[in-house]
């Protein structure tokens, strides 16, 4: 089956190259036979990559340790659930996942649009096939997951213990889905540029794809934060690591696009900007892959350094050159259809919002690359870590939060003073009340006060919209309030789903601001001894060490340290943090002992306990105890964010607006011949 997988990759490469060539030729010459051949090639490549995927999965599940990849990332005693995650734990397998997911999305896009956008589809097929062929070529020439060893080891190395976590079974696939699905909007953008079909038709075709991509990226980023929090044991969830930054960059540009595209649909403006954002998002997704795989920047998340990075760098440069050359070529035809009427308008608010998104993306990219620049220009190594990113991005993020409240409520075209007063009086009052209350209770962090006050502002704007909309339906249709609310959201999912996303963002910001009040305490405790820790809310936690128990479990030897936890004298329960020594099927240790954190989470704060080790091999344990306020809000903020995106995407509501539909030109000649 592995040999079949390898052969499937070679055939996929050949058909991919053929398909992409005939796709562009077919599109250029208006030859529907070539266009159809290209589309069929895309389906065949997808099928072949499924065969390759099945081949690697079979090798993993049957412990075929003669395959180098299987021996490197699995062992006989690795639970089946994590054997699946070994599929993308290493460089080679993750490349196959990339390729198969892009091919799947590509095939789905072609299938969904088989009767539509006929002038665009040959080029869409062509771009998808170029991207898929690139990934297949990288595998075949630099990182083949089916490469065999000269011998068959009795057992494999096993999977890194930090990857043996439920978060790692979901987080990387989500991010991959997010990264790879950007290929589809990119393919449509390039198709629109090549074909000259620059009306809003291509935007309608990619609307669901961009939302889907954004949804996966959002879920992937939040799940990655959750994994880092529960598994890495450092008490935080975002370290501004280059690989984390790489996942944030396309998210920022995609979010900017989701806002600016509304202006194009509604007013026919920002056409160049929108194409640029889609191209930029795709390039940033490739850049993220380059960062993760090249070893050019050191990161805890990186794959092993390899020559794969050069392939990605060349692909990145070529993709950028071709895409921006096409944009330059079509520049005159992407003139705005209307002009801005006032700075006090929704268009202007969205423009500012886009500016802030792009500046944040730039600052993240700049900070990520600055160490390379410094070493290159001056020969001086520098570190750009969280203090830098927080200093630069906190004010920008808060500015963005302010615009999150202003954008959706301010009128299109021109807001009158009466409109501004009607929309913003109550939210402004809410902001002032919250800010005054926080100052009154002597909250010590200025940025946190601003964050919570602006959070109140955005929440009030969203609540006001829901209240007014529900009230209007209740009055007009005499519907009970709950039904009116459901129908309000159901009839305009795009708008109200967007509001829900904004509420999710407020929750995330509330959680981020809580980090300002985080506290860490280290303690050494013998069984029966206690330590007291103060929370920022004024509670006192008493933590009493019970002892350390050791036992064998699945593929590891566990040392579990247990504590009794009391808050203000009230017993809360037992918390258990572990040290895990993973072993192979012969009982030999495979990795350094890893740590499992004990977390007690509620809406106010997390109590986060790490068993750091023991004093001289006894039950006298060293703990790090962290009180982390409002972390709950980050995870549930992520859930609300995803929920909002799902509401927006749900079929049957929130399609293109009438204004946007008016901007679609009638189909051209290919529609007749296809």
């Amino acid at each position: 089956m592995t040999d079949l997988g390898n052969i499937a990759l070679w055939i996929a490469l050949l058909i991919g190259v053929w398909g992409s060539a005939v796709a562009f030729l077919g599109g250029r010459r208006g030859r529907s036979d070539l266009a159809r051949s290209a589309e069929r090639a895309a389906y065949v490549v997808w099928g072949l990559l499924l065969v390759a995927t099945a081949g690697l999965l079979k090798a993993l599940l049957t412990h075929d340790f003669n395959v180098e990849y299987v021996a490197s990332y699995t062992s006989r005693n690795l639970p089946v659930w994590y054997t699946w995650s070994a599929f993308y734990a290493g460089q080679k397998g993750s490349l196959l996942l990339w390729a198969v997911v892009v091919a799947t999305f590509g095939a789905a896009a072609l299938l969904v649009n088989r009767g539509r956008h006929r002038e665009l589809m040959p080029y869409v097929a062509g771009v998808v096939l170029v991207v898929v062929s690139f990934f297949v070529a990288v595998m075949l020439f630099a990182a083949n997951p089916f490469e065999r060893l000269g011998f068959t080891p009795p057992d494999g190395n096993g999977l890194n213990p930090q990857l043996q976590n439920p978060g790692m079974t979901i987080h990387p696939p989500m991010l991959y889905l997010g990264y790879t699905s950007i290929t589809i909007p990119f393919a449509f953008a390039v198709a629109a540029l090549i074909s000259g079909r620059l009306d809003t038709g291509w935007l309608h075709a990619i609307r669901k794809w961009t939302l889907l991509s954004w949804l996966f990226l959002s879920a992937g980023v939040v799940l990655g934060m959750w994994w880092a929090y529960v598994e890495l044991g450092w008490g935080g969830y975002w370290a501004w690591d280059p690989v984390e930054n790489a996942s944030l960059l396309p998210w920022l540009t995609m979010t900017a696009f989701l806002h600016s595209v509304m202006i194009q649909e509604k007013r026919g403006m920002l056409k160049r900007w929108n194409v640029g954002l889609v191209i930029g998002s795709f390039l940033l997704s490739i850049f993220g892959t380059f960062i993760t795989r090249s070893g050019v920047i050191s990161s805890v998340h990186s794959f092993t350094q390899s020559r794969v990075g050069y392939f990605f760098l060349i692909f990145l440069v070529l993709s950028a050159a071709v895409a921006f050359a096409l944009l330059a070529y079509r520049w005159p035809r992407l003139e705005a259809e209307s002009k801005l009427e006032s700075v006090a308008s929704r268009e202007a608010a969205f423009l500012f919002n886009n500016l802030i998104f792009i500046v944040i993306a730039f600052s993240v990219l700049w900070g990520t690359l600055f160490p390379i620049l410094s070493e290159w220009l001056r020969g001086t190594k520098v570190t750009v870590g969280p203090p830098f990113f927080n200093q630069v991005n906190v004010p920008l993020g808060l500015l963005l939060l302010l615009l999150t409240g202003i954008g959706p409520l301010i009128a299109w075209r021109r807001a009158s003073p009466a409109n501004l007063r009607r929309q913003f009086l109550a939210p402004a009052l809410a902001t002032l009340v919250v800010a005054a209350a926080l100052v009154a209770i002597r909250m010590s962090d200025g940025w946190a006060i601003v964050a919570y006050a602006l959070g109140a502002f955005v929440t009030a704007t969203v609540a006001q919209e829901f209240v007014r909309g529900t009230g209007a339906r209740h009055r007009l249709h005499r519907e009970p309030y709950p039904l009116a609310l459901v129908r309000l959201v159901g009839r305009n999912r795009r708008r109200y789903g967007g509001y829900v996303v904004h509420l999710g963002m407020v929750m995330l910001f509330a959680g981020f601001a809580g980090l300002a009040f985080k506290s860490d305490t280290e303690a050494t405790l013998k069984p029966g001894q206690s330590v007291e820790v103060r929370s920022p809310y004024g509670h006192t936690y008493r933590i009493t060490h019970q002892g350390v128990s050791q036992y064998e479990r699945l593929n590891r030897f566990v040392s579990a340290a247990s504590v009794d936890v009391f808050r203000d004298g009230r017993y809360l329960g037992v918390m258990k943090s572990e040290k895990r020594q993973h072993t192979d099927s012969f009982g030999r240790p495979t990795f350094e002992p890893s740590t499992e954190v004990a977390i007690r989470s509620d809406v106010r704060e997390d109590l986060y306990i790490v068993y750091a080790g023991s004093v001289q091999g006894t039950e006298e344990a060293v703990y790090r105890i962290t009180v982390n306020p409002l972390v709950w809000w980050v995870w549930y903020g992520g859930v609300v964010l995803v929920l909002g995106a799902l509401i927006t995407m749900w079929p049957g509501g929130g399609g293109p607006t009438p204004a946007s539909l008016r901007r679609v030109e009638p189909a051209g000649y290919v529609a007749q011949v296809a």
Binding site: G235, K339, V359, V384, F557, E619
Partner: protein, 188 residues
């Protein structure tokens, strides 16, 4: 403990992955039970009051552990329990504070020893200012460009129609009802 567990424990105890080689039991741990497999757990020194000192934490938060983990010294020494670099850097911080250096002098001494890369953020001097200023320069440039574009757009916009704004106020009930239906249709 099962037979197999015990063998795993013994293997662990004998393996090179051991965090320590248990020596004779010191008197201070007499009242504390020994672990069956001490090698399965990292060996740690007892925490002192100074390990929790906020000043020490703040200094260590400004410095990067040189083991290559990308974490600051405080986070590394309280997270990566296999690292020997961050505990050594911690001891050096304490020693330098004991020799009457101020926090800034302690950080400067580390910078002199390891170079700028030991700092978690580039020091604000010389070329490093570019790191801090570029994002805000980008914001400023973006605002200027946006301002100019907006001004051009606003000036170029078509003149508003001469109809008086208050026309709708004189609409009939039927007209208002029709408007309501139209708005509702567009909304849905």
């Amino acid at each position: 403990m099962s037979h197999r567990s015990l063998s795993v424990a013994l293997l662990l105890a004998a393996s090179g992955a051991m965090a320590q080689t248990p020596g004779p039991r010191p008197p201070s741990t007499d009242s504390v039970g020994r672990l069956a497999a001490p090698g399965a757990v990292q060996s740690r020194e007892r925490v002192t009051a100074r390990d929790n000192d906020l000043l020490v934490k703040a200094i260590e938060g400004r410095m990067r552990c040189t083991c290559g983990c990308n974490l600051d010294v405080f986070t590394c020494r309280t997270t990566d329990f296999t690292c020997t670099t961050s505990p050594a850097m911690h001891r050096l911080v304490l020693a330098r504070l004991d020799s009457a250096l101020t926090p800034d002098q302690v950080v400067a001494a580390f910078e002199a020893q390891y170079g700028q890369a030991v700092l978690m953020a580039p020091p604000k001097r010389g070329f490093n200012w570019a790191a801090y200023l570029m994002p805000f320069a980008g914001l400023g440039a973006g605002l200027v460009v946006l301002g100019l574009v907006m001004r051009r757009w606003v000036r170029a916009r078509p003149k508003p129609s001469p109809e008086p704004a208050g026309e709708a106020a004189g609409a009939t009930a039927q007209e208002l009802e029709r408007l309501r239906r139209e708005l509702e249709r567009i909304e849905s």
